[in-house]
Symmetry: D2
Subunit: 426 residues, 4 copies
Amino acid sequence: MRIDKSRLDDANKKDEARHKDHFDFLSNQLTMKGCDVESILKKLSDFQVAIPSWALGAGGTRFGRFGFQGEPSNLEQKIDDVGILHTLTKTAGAISLHIPWDVPKDYSAIKELANSHDIIFDAVNSNTFQDQKNAKESYRFGSLSNTNRSVREQAIQHNTEVIQIGDKLGSKSLTIWLADGSNFPGQSNFQTALQHTEDSLKDIYKTLPNDWKLFIEYKPYEPNFYSTVIQDWGTSFMLANACGDKAYTLVDLGHHLPNTNIEQIVSTLMLKGKLGGFHFNDSKYGDDDSTVGSVKPYSLFLIFNALVYGMENNPQNPYPAWMIDASHNIKDPLEDLIQSLEAIQEAYAKALLVDQKLLTGAQQNHDVVKCQEILQDAYRTDVRPLLEKARLESGGAINPINAYRSLQVRENLIDERGTDSVASGL
Amino acid sequence: MRIDKSRLDDANKKDEARHKDHFDFLSNQLTMKGCDVESILKKLSDFQVAIPSWALGAGGTRFGRFGFQGEPSNLEQKIDDVGILHTLTKTAGAISLHIPWDVPKDYSAIKELANSHDIIFDAVNSNTFQDQKNAKESYRFGSLSNTNRSVREQAIQHNTEVIQIGDKLGSKSLTIWLADGSNFPGQSNFQTALQHTEDSLKDIYKTLPNDWKLFIEYKPYEPNFYSTVIQDWGTSFMLANACGDKAYTLVDLGHHLPNTNIEQIVSTLMLKGKLGGFHFNDSKYGDDDSTVGSVKPYSLFLIFNALVYGMENNPQNPYPAWMIDASHNIKDPLEDLIQSLEAIQEAYAKALLVDQKLLTGAQQNHDVVKCQEILQDAYRTDVRPLLEKARLESGGAINPINAYRSLQVRENLIDERGTDSVASGL
Amino acid sequence: MRIDKSRLDDANKKDEARHKDHFDFLSNQLTMKGCDVESILKKLSDFQVAIPSWALGAGGTRFGRFGFQGEPSNLEQKIDDVGILHTLTKTAGAISLHIPWDVPKDYSAIKELANSHDIIFDAVNSNTFQDQKNAKESYRFGSLSNTNRSVREQAIQHNTEVIQIGDKLGSKSLTIWLADGSNFPGQSNFQTALQHTEDSLKDIYKTLPNDWKLFIEYKPYEPNFYSTVIQDWGTSFMLANACGDKAYTLVDLGHHLPNTNIEQIVSTLMLKGKLGGFHFNDSKYGDDDSTVGSVKPYSLFLIFNALVYGMENNPQNPYPAWMIDASHNIKDPLEDLIQSLEAIQEAYAKALLVDQKLLTGAQQNHDVVKCQEILQDAYRTDVRPLLEKARLESGGAINPINAYRSLQVRENLIDERGTDSVASGL
Amino acid sequence: MRIDKSRLDDANKKDEARHKDHFDFLSNQLTMKGCDVESILKKLSDFQVAIPSWALGAGGTRFGRFGFQGEPSNLEQKIDDVGILHTLTKTAGAISLHIPWDVPKDYSAIKELANSHDIIFDAVNSNTFQDQKNAKESYRFGSLSNTNRSVREQAIQHNTEVIQIGDKLGSKSLTIWLADGSNFPGQSNFQTALQHTEDSLKDIYKTLPNDWKLFIEYKPYEPNFYSTVIQDWGTSFMLANACGDKAYTLVDLGHHLPNTNIEQIVSTLMLKGKLGGFHFNDSKYGDDDSTVGSVKPYSLFLIFNALVYGMENNPQNPYPAWMIDASHNIKDPLEDLIQSLEAIQEAYAKALLVDQKLLTGAQQNHDVVKCQEILQDAYRTDVRPLLEKARLESGGAINPINAYRSLQVRENLIDERGTDSVASGL
């Protein structure tokens, strides 16, 4: 299913007058403050976030899963779903594949399909946290860190294949999330596991094409409940340094212990030129994978403030790869992603409003009250008209959720795919 | 498969001399301190912990599950597994059924089977956190708290049926773990959800036989990630009071926010006569459901210290129902349960060694250093000889793990059941 | 020092045109959505938050304290400081005294002074967590919970005196924050401590005038590091019920374990008619006592959403007593309080914008996406023009921080009081 | 006051028979298992922990402090207190000074005094988290990270002086705990602060004598409540690498976010040869600085297991500097330290009992159950007879707490120093 441009234009018509009114007011207000509204709009339009192929169906917990109707049951349908998101939001111009859940059968057909949606293939993701049918070795006790050499070799080989698959699609980076760790004290020798992991990563790194990047994700716990080999940014950073210049740390918002100051980690990594990728989601308790911005929007803003600062001041750091890594347990996955994309753009827009020069001055004067006023002045601004404008100029929807509903997208998908389709993967 | 008594005796023989030596030394040492060793042994023998029917197969996480060979594939085999545990440990004399995963077909045959293993049926557990095939209503948005009356009625009706099933088996209590809650701010009206829950619980309570108890479990999060209707002991306690004298709070060790002082909650509930049931497990991060005592054994001891105090000083509180509620993701489930039972008995034995009179005196004198010395003197004692003695006198194994392995129990189960059997339920 | 009305008017003049422009735009926008702007303004004007007498000087940590110049060194100066806050913000029309730090010498003079600032005396606070010079008994090992009867009696007697002092000033409530607990396992008998606390509170309750309320605060830890007698809302609620109809729970935002769902606690207490008082602050790690809204403004909004719902739907609950309980370690205390008051009003205004009817409908339809949209539509609105209008209409400052600075309030206070004055109390 | 050797011998006499009985039994048991008891005793005797000069008086919280009688009021008395600890425990053969709280006046007299107690001077500690009287610059907004160059220079200069002081006493390492950070979002530029810190540390490093080490401590929060420049091991490790070979990370047990796997951090640092120092304490909530082993003794054991492994297998890592960094709020500081020393030795002894070869085998076979059995077999052993023996052979007390009390040490100190002496420093 594709969204008909004329029907989308009709949907926008209802909101146009209100939008224009709000945008003009805000634009005027910001201009008077010295903001370059055009430049902000340009940045918002350029900001594209990859959608992972596994996020288009309903997720679940260890206690079960409540399915959603009209789920995409193959890679083509997943790309179509991202196409719908991109048509509406103009900010989802990439898909991130998970191997082996989404191995293409016909590469040129798949690339053509993505191209027709104006979607590129971002980082590819390997999977060594589950056993695949007929696999020779089991990852029950780890993969890249396993004490058993043939398990490590199988996992290295898998990553090499993922790179090859991604290469055929135009991807330029590999994301490794290593679930390896242990469930009980004593189960694993920390040093041996770390050394094996370093060696395995180096082996994978050797097979990386020259214009590729390797992203090393970290996570403190889950699925392992006592230790995780790459438990924090420090470990990831150390491993990335050991691998080489093309290796980077990947930050996933949900992968931190309670109360971690994530924006500081982001700043440190960008100062050192090592922030490669970024996964968006939100959480209240653990790695809840909730809708971006649904629980802690101010934290998201503070993190974007660090990201914006780094993008403007740290040429030593590459432009990061952005992805949403959320799970949609009770919402329509596409609506959930639309809400996430909106929250990301909102936080980004607000961070762009921060008067960095004023802020630096206040910081140097130790005027703590003013520093807070500057940040909160940006945060308190209602930036929705900016987001609407950026989308509208790119041909998207003024209000994507409303358009999605009024165009009856889900109903159409159910008609096409039935009520019982199940997304491949998780 | 049943463990042959004579083979078990043979297994014990090897350890008997060493055991006797250790026990005599410890017994002597304790007696000199004024401990009544016989009375402690009696208490250890009497302490029986229920095994839940869902804990006999491999558990998993939302990222997947690694199966275990020789899993019990029906209720009869589950009872046999508990029989094996009880034969070895003499502390697992009860099973706790989960409905609808384990509805008996032939009640008298099942009771006879359990009886042949010297096992009773402890609390029955209802399930309104998953949808059953062909169910009229879905629990996707809650059960007892649902805004939809017919969903609530279905959930109430289910609980009533669980009581009836339990009644036929000789159970005397119903445990309700209510997963109801919400994933996002705004999704649920807290007051409406709480009121519906209270009303639904009262409806279930009305159908409770006179000699039954209702246990209301609490949990702060998971599977819901923003709010849970019965999020803490305070809510459970309030609801239990609203229901009546037969309603109690159930404490599960894993169901608390980080750093909660659980032993204090236990003390408060027992003082008020409202601690009905208790679920054992351990955890480092969230509700990890790890082996009891594998992560925080001193906490377990402190909790037992509170339980022992309550059992001795709070006649207003009934004798609690004990159950292990752990998940066995990478260990043999039976070995995991043996380790859990050992850790429970160890903590109980150490708590029984605390000189309560001396402790009360030190507390009254505000001799904080001495209070700590008294607790730690008990905790530092190696009580394993007491556990061995209690098991040996009851006909169990001196060392259950060793016996389990030397008698090749798992190998026999695989022979009987095959490598691919999957436990019903989770 | 008092702020001259005409100088304040001058300060407002500069902002008036911009304010009018912004307010008209927002007012129009809200009216079109069906909001009753006048009613919201009225509610904002009526909302008054007490300032505690100990919050007007610099706070500190156990590692030290950096003083602030021009601190008020006696009760009169503290009242003057609140007067300054109230003049600027028109939302700080009350002071909450801490005894024995702020015992008036001349009651009628003090009342007259407060009256001249349009300030009333809200809840009085007792202190049994520190030893006072020449006190007969020490609170080192607890006060209301102490095993020593004469310590308990001294603490009860102190609370009675605090009531008498408050009564002379027109206060109508007593807040008890009980720091009692223990630092080490074994130090305290939980049941004895709880029973003593309940009995002591009942003794204090007996001396409460008929038109007074007793607020029982809870806190999980600090200054005690192992257990706290009133560790959570459940304990406070239980004790309030034991005392009687005039006893209530008091919620302090910083007094919760990590990740606690506070808005749900608020909802539960209001449903049961037991939310008596509320302390505002913010925190990232523990009881940091940071500026309200500086860390988690969305949480504050969600909590206000629960408060607004309760105030409109729970006649069984009294109107709560509001207070800021923050510590100002590196900011000018008055500026910090202005920022806090602004954040409180902002969250309140946004909560008032939530379309409760629409939300209830979406909740009943389980339209989770829409529920989130409704909440976030309110939250994303820039409500500052509403706050400005409410203040302006009451005679306050359009922008209190700017006015405070342009009127050189702190400079004047330093001139009057010197650079080395130290606030009494902490 | 010094403990008379003959009176100590008398105190030991009462326990000698019991001790011998227990030791012989345990020694026999361990020898049968293949343990080299003599070697363990030797290691226990060699293990010496520094006592910080600030830990000999009563600590407090931001809410106040309850003093303790007989506190040492000058450096000489502090050294005497450590002497008492060392005489009793034979494991406290070092003192760690805090500058400027404990600047010696007469170096040779102080060295002689320490020598007479068989005490050496371990790492010296600088203080840039408090302002000293008459200091030119204030550390209110940071020290080594301050945006103001002259503040940074003052802080660097202070550290250089601390090195000089330490050098005169025979210290060989400087510990820098940097409290620098920020209380509010926006207050500080993370990258600037980090860069300044790195530069300042390098400046200090340059002044380090060749045979010295620099220890860089990390801490996630407190006294700053939003960000801390050196917030985790990753930051400390990065800075240590930037400084050079003589710079190391220092781990303090209380300086971690909830649930951090500290033993894994220890293992990583030792593998990389960068674990320089170690501070012992315990905690339930934050940086509570409780008695070592009073809350989480099993964690302490797991950490010691990592330390023992590293000391035996990582020649690339220097022998770490050990120190107790605890605060004694309600216990006699000397008794508290005796309990801490006992807990440290206990955890060390248990870790030495772990059969590393057996464990490695079980790890390689992925026999998770056996791994746990091996660790817990060591942990469950009552090792107190080993500790007694090690102390007795070195001339210390069989039971130091009992000896301390029976010899009436505190009473003597009060006689000497009075009831109102206050320890310098915190």
